[in-house]
Subunit: 312 residues, 2 copies
């Protein structure tokens, strides 16, 4: 699979799709493409949409798209499919509805399978966002199911994090909030026509806090009918105007970059060590020495570090 | 905490207990003790006892001890407590029963908490076994709940692996067996007074296979009454006579040593890299370059590998 990065930069959708497949399935070849397009990234406004399963994230994304289009924006959507078979079915319907936009040349939708390897997914997601960015998407919506670590990971990908919850989640929300408060720039209470929406809103408003000059926003929506979606759109525009090219986003970006460099360091170093050791009989001779009790395992490892890797 | 390794080698129980605590809680200091006693290890016969929760492993261990004592053997027991609160309670009763041996100077019992970090536990278990070995234990029984990876890990610790199952586990056994067949040297069907023990025995006998000249043994016990425990004891003696100081065990030991060296390599290298990078401003300056799109994250990691670690 050969991908021409200059075609991606010209916005060629087919080439973009092929590059995304490469990033997902062939990390080494994918990295080469990323290297080629990287200097052209950083233009898009990346919106992360997360929250528990069933809160209507896909429907919300679906309803947001027309607002961005009305501003002549090119929209990219990265939908991260949870591998869970339970929530998978429910989401599928919304994903199919998203397809109504998929024939639209100003909207590019791609879903990715999460295979449980969160680190790997997060890395690939970042690169998919970069490809869409380089291909000219102005807005990139990254939709992911927020359970545990995932909602933290989205901070490393998105400029703004929207956490979607709904009434009748009850105490779950309270439990969740402790982890989510830290990542949410915007709270959406979706399905606000159900149950105790106002109580939840009140609670969120009471406890929201200000970070880097931005006070967490709280928006009430009924994505199914479209109610409140325009308010969310306005909040997102507002956030972009407040923050784009500002110091706070810069810091988020630098700390994300640091994490990503460290992740690559670990992957690359492990590879190099495997290579160096494979070409070398020292490991098996030392294992034999350990079996003979001539050297203990930790000292054997230290020997390899000294002799094979040349470190002191 | 200062530990005198010469006292361990003389069989001092208090010093042994302190060294075990060190290995569990202070890996770096623990490694130093292991280094000092390592050449005196490899004498003990290490028996791994694994299997699903509730199959009566602790009771079985409890019943086996007198047989070893009758042969004038010093017995060590390492009981790995599962952190699961569900099975934890049930096991506790059996553990208390094990205490009846704990005042006995020829029996040394130690339980270890599994904290979910299987790699770390397996490493510590190996070292605890070594300490007991160096302190003069002839027989070391390692009891661990076999779920998923744990039963594979025990192969790296034990000379012989005993898998304990029971009737009425039904299909679970079939599912389990696929993973367990590879590690079991001896199958015990405990609680054989219940249900369909004979059917299970028949199944096990039909599918057992021969490895390195040893045909998987199948033993039927009722640990609660002691029934069949002598048969298990004889099988274990038989295994020891067949294998101790034989080629097959040597291979198992060498491959275990190789894995352990590689584990230490990874730990030590990660530490060294963290140290080297902490003393160096290169990471943050590169993160800043990534944020400016002057370099992509993978190339930044490659730069660190080249510049800071001196690798090509």
């Amino acid at each position: 699979l050969k991908v021409d990065s200059s075609k991606i930069l010209k916005g060629d959708r087919r080439e973009l799709a092929r590059a995304i497949s490469l990033v997902e399935n062939e990390p080494d070849l994918g990295s080469e493409i990323i290297r080629q397009i990287f200097s052209k990234t950083g233009r898009a406004y990346v919106i992360g949409i997360t929250g528990p399963p069933g809160t209507g994230k896909s429907t919300l994304v679906n309803r947001l798209i027309p607002y961005f289009k009305s501003k002549e924006k090119q929209v990219g959507v990265v939908a991260i499919d949870p591998s869970s078979p339970i929530s998978g079915g429910a989401l599928l319907g919304d994903r199919v509805r998203m397809l109504e936009h998929s024939l639209d040349p100003s909207v590019f939708i791609r879903s990715m399978a999460s295979r449980g390897d969160l680190g790997g997914l997060s890395r690939a997601t970042k690169d998919v966002v970069r490809l869409m960015d380089a291909a000219g998407m102005d807005i990139i919506l990254v939709e992911t199911v927020g359970i545990g670590q995932a909602e933290i990971e989205i901070m490393n990908v998105a400029d703004v994090v929207v956490v979607v919850i709904m009434p009748e989640l009850g105490d779950e929300v309270q439990a969740m909030k402790s982890g989510i408060t830290e990542v949410a720039d915007v709270f959406v209470v979706n399905k606000a026509d159900l149950g105790n929406a106002d109580k939840i809103l009140l609670n969120l408003e009471r406890f929201r806090y200000t970070r880097n000059g931005w006070k967490q926003a709280v928006v009430k929506t009924v994505a199914k009918t479209g109610q409140g979606v325009q308010d969310l759109f306005k909040v997102l525009e507002d956030y972009e105007n407040t923050f784009k090219s500002k110091r706070a986003l810069r810091e988020r970006e630098e700390s994300g970059a640091e994490k990503e460099i460290l992740q690559y360091l670990e992957i690359l170093i492990r590879k190099k060590i495997e290579l160096k050791i494979r070409d070398n009989q020292r490991l098996s001779s030392l294992a034999s020495d350990v079996a003979d009790r001539r050297i203990d395992p930790r000292s054997a490892a230290e020997t390899i570090i000294r002799e094979v890797l040349g470190w002191n």
